[in-house]
Amino acid sequence: MKQTANLKTLGKMSRVSKKPALLYILLLLQSLLFSQIIFAQNITVKGQVTKEGGLPVQSASVLVKETKAGTTTDENGNFQISMAPNGTLLISALDLVAQEIKVAGRTTINTLLVATSNSLSEVIVVGYGTQRKEAITGSVASIGGDKLRDVPSPNITQALQGRLAGVDISQTSTRPGATMQIRIRGTRSLSADNNPLIVLDGIPFIGSLADINPNDIKSVDVLKDASATAIYGSRGANGVILVTTDKGGRNRKPRISYNSYHGVQNIFAKYPVMDGPQFVAYRKAASSTPRAQQYLNGQDEADSINTDWQDLLYRTGFVTDHNISLSGGTETGNYNFGGGYHLNQGIIPTQLYKRYSFRASIDQQVGKYIRVGFTTNNNYNQSEGNQVGIYGALSNTPISSPYNADGTAKRYIRMAADNSFIFTKDVVETLKDNGQWLNDSRGYATYNAVYGEVQAPFLKGLKYRVNLWLDYIQSNCGAYTGSGVGDALNPNTISSASVDNRQTYHWTVENILSYDKTFGGKHTVNAVALYSTEQNKYNRSNMSATDIPSDALQYYNLGQAVGQLTIDPNNQDYQLWGLMSGMGRVMYSYDSRYMISGTLRSDASSRLAPGNKWHTYPAVSVGWNISKESFMEAIPVINNLKLRAGYGQTSNQAVAVYSTLGRLDTRPYNFGPTNYGVGFYVNQLPNANLGWEYSKTLNVGLDFALLKNRLSGTVEYYDTKTEDILLGLSLPPTSGVSSITSNVGTTQNKGFELSLNGTIINNLNGWTWEMGVNFYTNKNKLTSLASGQTKDEGNWWFVGHNINAIYDYKKIGLWNTGKDSTDGYLNVLEPGGNVGMIKVEYTGGFDANGKPLRAIGTADRQIIDVDPDWQGGFNTRVAYKGFDLGVVGMYRKGGVLFSTIHGSNGYLNLLSGRRNNINVDYWTPDNTDAKYPRPGGILSGDNPKYGSTLSYFDGSFMKIRTITLGYDFNHSLMKNSGVKLRMYVTAQNPFVFFSPFHSESGLDPETNSFGNENASVNLSQNLRRILTVGYNTPSTRNYIVGVNLTF
């Protein structure tokens, strides 16, 4: 049905276009040949646009109001335009208040534009169009590219952290090149992807933010509520990040920009494990505990040794980044070409991330009615050394030495109960140099968009645009481990190698019809209709082999292996999915006072069951610019006041491909040593009823600007309810199948957001001081699970609690003293327990004498909510003459920080004397008010009983992300030259405050791992969502020197 409608529209278009075809050609010729002649009666107006401090404003837009002819200012703020002597000029630029100037025959017009802290005239990208900020009714947070670059980083996720209210960005890895996890207004889905949609230059982008060079970015706009994201339909269910890149300007002379920075990376803090004397005391304390398992010094251990294994492993990292671009424009078009190089050599030996990128965009007006363009983004990236872990460096006892008595290096050390292969910097680098231990990953991605836009000659404001996006992404990974590498037991363990190749092919076609019109001066209408189709194909191949005869072969020819070759069917993949959509949106504004926007979108996804593939949902939002009302003129202190409200649905095809079809799982088996078979069994049932998961969001916001726009801000409240959540529903085993993907469960996210920007000192004796702060809360909870179920213990899901809740015992202290233990019935609650062990809360009953009725058991586990109470960020900038000093920070209050290194997952807080341990304040008979239990006390497995409860810390912290001091040479040395030069120095990650975790351990309180990574016993795959501090590559403190040069 949709298809027919589209064909009709297209048919109409092409019929219409036949008649004026000749006209177009004439117009084209006219514009090429006769433009000078036709406008000969005009005068030429010249001028300079400046802002506070007399600084030139480059790339300001200069438009003739009557004819819409336009140009932009050059790097010195100068412009020249031909126009009628009685015409009016519209001069505008980003972050500055636009001005309308009647020329009145003058030929020189110099203009001073004042800064608008609230940037009302700022143009915001709202998806399939732009809007002036004052007309926006949805929830949109924006940040300019220059502000993002305050935080020099390989990708903008790091730079965005703490900058926008409601946009929670968490670190998931500290390895070079890692991107961060972005959650816009909380987590909605239980098992599906909660990542926002990225839209690059107006077109949905399937790459990651790491594929976009931060230097190319002009602005980032984040659509947060349903009324704003509705136009992107299911793709935008988790919010939308619109990235707009710099595209050169019209009538701009060719310009070359060169941006570069270099820096060193030092460890923020070593993992706080014990040194030699501390360890000796600790092992002694453990062995003196009655009934403790005795760990006496191993073969290679001696109390007199004090080895710092971390010092032996880490190196100084460095980062270097170069980016060059050429941009410019003519009367009718513009272009931008750019290339970049980024290298980060990590602090773990051999770890590195390297990226080469190339980008080009061309936009050309052809004649009066047609515009065509082309954008290509390409990058080649490489990462190495990710197999190098640090567990050995942390768990090797400090009283063992990496050297033999004769000074030669040992291959491994023998500790009390464990042997450990020695990985020092020298060993790792030698293994790499010899090609014996490699883990390389190379990726290439190309994202290409072509578009064409036709303006209807018969109806002004009506445009048809087609976008075609063609993408290809590939990654090739190879790993090789030489014979015996890493094996402390067996130096002859055979070598192994593996290869993993992945390709993604993706295309999107969008047909957009839009209409812009202002009637009677006060009625402004913008209407958009869209029809789009996209398809994505993904293919993965993986193979591995053992016993490669020669190290020289590495992973390049597994066919040479003399051991076994494995192609595990679980490591091969093929996915093909498609999405078809139709969307209509109308935005209407009366006198810039009353605004309303309505959207209707239909999506059809291949992932859902036949009959449930299509889903249609509405969104509507309204706005009232109170400050434009006449009664507000009496309150001059208020420059802007706008109330917004929106309600809408979004939906999410939050389900893996082929989920509706069910699947057979495989079980390989051997009948005797060498006769093999693969078994099949029905593991997942088909579900013909699988439909869309959708969210309903209510959003209310107030935008304001006070005191001549020196203080501006936004307050917002939202409530998102997600229903029919798609989930792999566990069936009772008696059904004979383990799961079915189903629509079950609901979640809610509601929150409050505040952002404030102020100019505290505005160019007072050359001083300017600006400050921005944002604050937000998000209350996330599960409101129902499958049919009346209130808890899912296996997945740690509980109705009424955070999706990321933890389910565990609650530590309330230690059993401190013998008296405490007698009074508290240690013997009843903890059969076999000891004084000095962890005391957890008992939730059972008591008899008449106050004696507990039973021992502590699984019934005493409790639900621990982990989300922070509130969080946000701040930034400030002080400028004086050419100097500027900027600080960017973030903060978080409350919530739980999950440190696997302190709990039982990490095997670094065993408190048994077995291996090296986190240097914690442990209980001894002389230190009874300790936080950590008695070494050598009761165990559960290899860890102290209830050791998992030691993982949980207060998640509060405040962190200074960067401090940057810059100097603009145009202020002095090169005042009047065409060359712009700024240099800066930045310290990244310099300070952490108010963090109980940091105070205790000295570590960075930001998470560095998913739940199923970087621990010795990881959380299960379905608890991957819980972010943790594990033993990943240590967090770094970076010192960077950078330069921005334009000529």
């Binding site: 949709k2 092409s14 494995t566 059904s735």
Partner: protein, 657 residues
């Protein structure tokens, strides 16, 4: 320009519409199978392979293994035990609950396999190329799983959502349990009778089901059902059911059936039979021998088909069907030290290092045998080869394999030892106990050797522990299940990989035990219970190799073994004999529950505390209640069911709510 417009329209048509609305929204997987494939011949044969593969998720799963041994007279928890092990001991250190029960490995695996079996049986009707013998393999496993379930949990559902014994493809979130006699008479007996008829006498492929294994399980099911009908100690059943047979037969009838089927199998052995010696039966490298009727296979040759890494430096004990059971019963012998200096000083050298060898392997110290088996069950250690073929009672120096260069080390009494010499020995009896000197802790004052609190005997270079001196931390390893690899070379091999040996499930020898037990319970026939046991005991008297001395040792004590058999044997004797034959193989809990002797034989045990230097036996009493004779229904089942709390409580076995 017109051209441009046209190209765009063409591109739009081609990509947006030309390829068709339907096509873009259609799905066709190319890397996975959908359930439709299960209706093809290859799909059905894959289903049959899966029947075998599912065994790995039950047998060798260390926590499930623990449920069959910990809490019996064969094993208790050891010093590094976590709650999984302490719960099962019922000795006041834990409690078996629906949430903590590790019988979930069985519950979670069996129904899916039963459903697959039902699918094979149904789908094969439309695929003539699948033979009746192949379908009978599925029938065998459906009965096999139901038999395990009914012994463990009581009555279990026969209807998975599509009707009794039907292939379920619906998302059924309800469940109704059948009674014990329904499970036996509707599912287990008919499937096994059909399987006995249709299965081949010799296996289709290595280790596949035969008439003989079907007969063994049929006989054992009859035997177990007969006991259930008789219920000598008045143990409750659930769901409630009278102890009467729907077919109107009595217990005696089924004891006789058990005897008849078992002796039929003995008389028609096909390619099966007893190995010559107990040692042959269990020595690594001879696992797929003629005595083995069923095993969960593994291979050292291929990690993918083995289901677990084979060269991993550090592997998990469970998951994905790994065979990590033996790690649980292996004590941490690597703590043993011998001194480099002749006066017993100097940095202690690890003289018995972690090696992928049958008497060593990866230590977890989760389960320990109490003293009883050493003094009672295996009282005879000289005539009967089974003590020597069950335990690794002597650990020998292997330090050069781990790279330690010392030619000689100084061990007990500061006497020199060389590689291959005994470093620590678990003594066979108490005759020398009075002469043993133990340190008060891990070591003797001033000495670096030992380190595990073992004692010395005058003149002996090996440290010693008397049978009553074993503890939860120092005890003999289970040799019969120890790892065996062929790729060690001259080194320690891959001790951290899970076992690549098959996990033994059913042996030809058990037919003699089933018939003998039935005979003790009154069944009659050509062979008496004593006759049957004597076959087993005669074989047990044959020696080929001495693990204790690590040397060939040929002896035939068959006659003496037979002579020592009592003239009249009772159930306790059968159970003791079963423990000698199948110690640590995961039979014990079923045996004690079937015969309702659990409390009598395992109600108390003795063992030393879990610290080095503990050699004083502690007597521990277990509280084994009648409710414990069936396990709780796992919490995952109850959580997954759509039912009211009352219905869920009624679904659970009594006493576990």
């Amino acid at each position: 320009m017109k051209l441009i417009i046209k190209s765009f329209i063409a591109a739009t048509l081609l990509l947006g519409s030309g390829s068709g609305c339907k096509k873009i929204l259609d799905e066709e997987p190319r890397s996975i199978y959908t359930p439709d494939f299960f209706k093809t011949q290859k799909g059905i044969l894959g289903g049959i392979t899966s029947q075998y593969a599912h065994l790995r998720f039950i047998y060798g799963q260390p926590y499930y293994y623990n449920t069959l041994e910990t809490g019996t007279d064969e094993y208790t928890w050891a010093s590094s035990a976590d709650q999984n092990f302490k719960d099962m001991d019922l000795s006041g250190v834990g409690n078996i609950t629906a949430a903590s029960s590790r019988s979930d490995a069985l519950w979670g695996t069996a129904f899916s396999n039963i459903n697959t079996a039902s699918g094979i049986i149904e789908n094969a009707v439309a695929v003539p190329a699948v033979t009746a013998a192949q379908v009978a393999e599925a029938r065998f496993f459906r009965a096999f799983d139901y038999f395990l379930l009914v012994q463990t949990f009581g009555g279990v559902p026969l209807d998975l959502g599509a009707g009794e014994l039907k292939f379920n493809t619906s998302a059924s979130r309800t469940s109704i349990r059948n009674t014990v006699p329904e499970v036996y008479t509707k599912a287990i007996f008919p499937d096994l009778i059909q399987a006995v008829t249709d299965l081949p006498a010799t296996p289709r492929a290595t280790g596949t089901a035969t008439k003989t294994v079907a007969r063994l399980y049929l006989a054992k099911a009859y035997l177990t059902y007969a006991w259930w009908l008789q219920n000598p100690n008045n143990i409750p059943t659930y769901p409630a059911s009278p102890r009467t047979d729907p077919a109107g037969k009595d217990a005696q009838y089924y004891f006789q059936q058990a005897y008849d089927i078992a002796t039929q199998a003995i008389d028609n052995p096909g390619s099966f039979g007893l190995e010559n010696t107990f040692y042959d039966l269990h020595v690594g490298g001879n696992d797929r021998n003629k005595e083995m009727l069923l095993y969960a296979d593994h291979t050292q040759e291929n990690a993918f088909y083995n289901g677990a890494p084979i060269i991993s430096g550090s592997d998990a004990e469970s998951g994905n069907g790994r065979n990590g059971a033996v790690w649980m019963v292996t004590w941490n012998y690597t703590v043993i030290r011998s001194a480099p200096n002749a006066n017993g000083t100097g940095a202690g050298v690890s003289s018995v290092q972690r090696e992928a060898a049958q008497s060593l392997g990866r230590p977890y110290t989760r389960m320990a045998p109490p003293i009883g088996p050493f003094l009672t069950t295996f009282a005879d250690k000289t005539l009967d080869s089974r003590y020597d073929g069950t335990f690794a009672a002597v650990h020998r120096g292997n330090w050069p394999k781990g790279g330690a260069g010392n030619a000689v080390l100084y061990n007990a009494n500061d006497l020199p030892v060389v590689p291959g010499d005994p470093i620590i020995s678990f003594l066979e009896d108490e005759s020398q106990t009075a002469n043993i000197v133990y340190p008060s802790g891990a070591n003797f004052p001033g000495k670096t050797s030992n380190n595990v609190g073992a004692g010395v005997l005058p003149g002996r270079a090996d440290f010693v522990v008397n049978p009553r001196g074993i503890s939860r931390i120092v005890y003999p390893n289970l040799w019969k299940m120890g790892v065996y690899r062929t790729d060690n070379g001259n080194g320690l091999g891959q001790p951290n990989a899970t076992s690549t040996r098959p996990f033994k499930i059913a042996k030809f020898s058990e037919l003699y035990f089933i018939a003998a037990e039935a005979a003790v319970k009154g069944a009659t026939g050509v062979r008496s219970a004593v006759d049957l046991m004597n076959v087993i005991r005669a074989r047990a008297g044959k020696w080929k190799f001495s693990n204790k001395n690590n040397a060939a040792f040929v002896a035939d004590n068959s006659a003496a073994m037979i002579a020592a058999t009592p003239a009249i044997i009772d159930i306790n004797y059968i159970l003791a004999e079963r423990s000698r034959e199948y110690f640590g193989e995961g039979h014990r809990w079923f045996d004690l529950v079937r015969t309702q002797k659990w409390n009598e034989l395992a109600g108390t045990y003795q063992i030393g505390n879990g610290t080095y230097g503990s050699h004083t036996p502690q007597t521990v009493t277990r509280t084994i209640e009648p409710k414990h004779y069936i396990r709780p229904i796992p919490q995952g089942q109850l959580d997954g069911m759509q039912a009211t709390p009352e219905e869920k409580a009624a679904y659970q076995n009594p006493g576990y709510q």
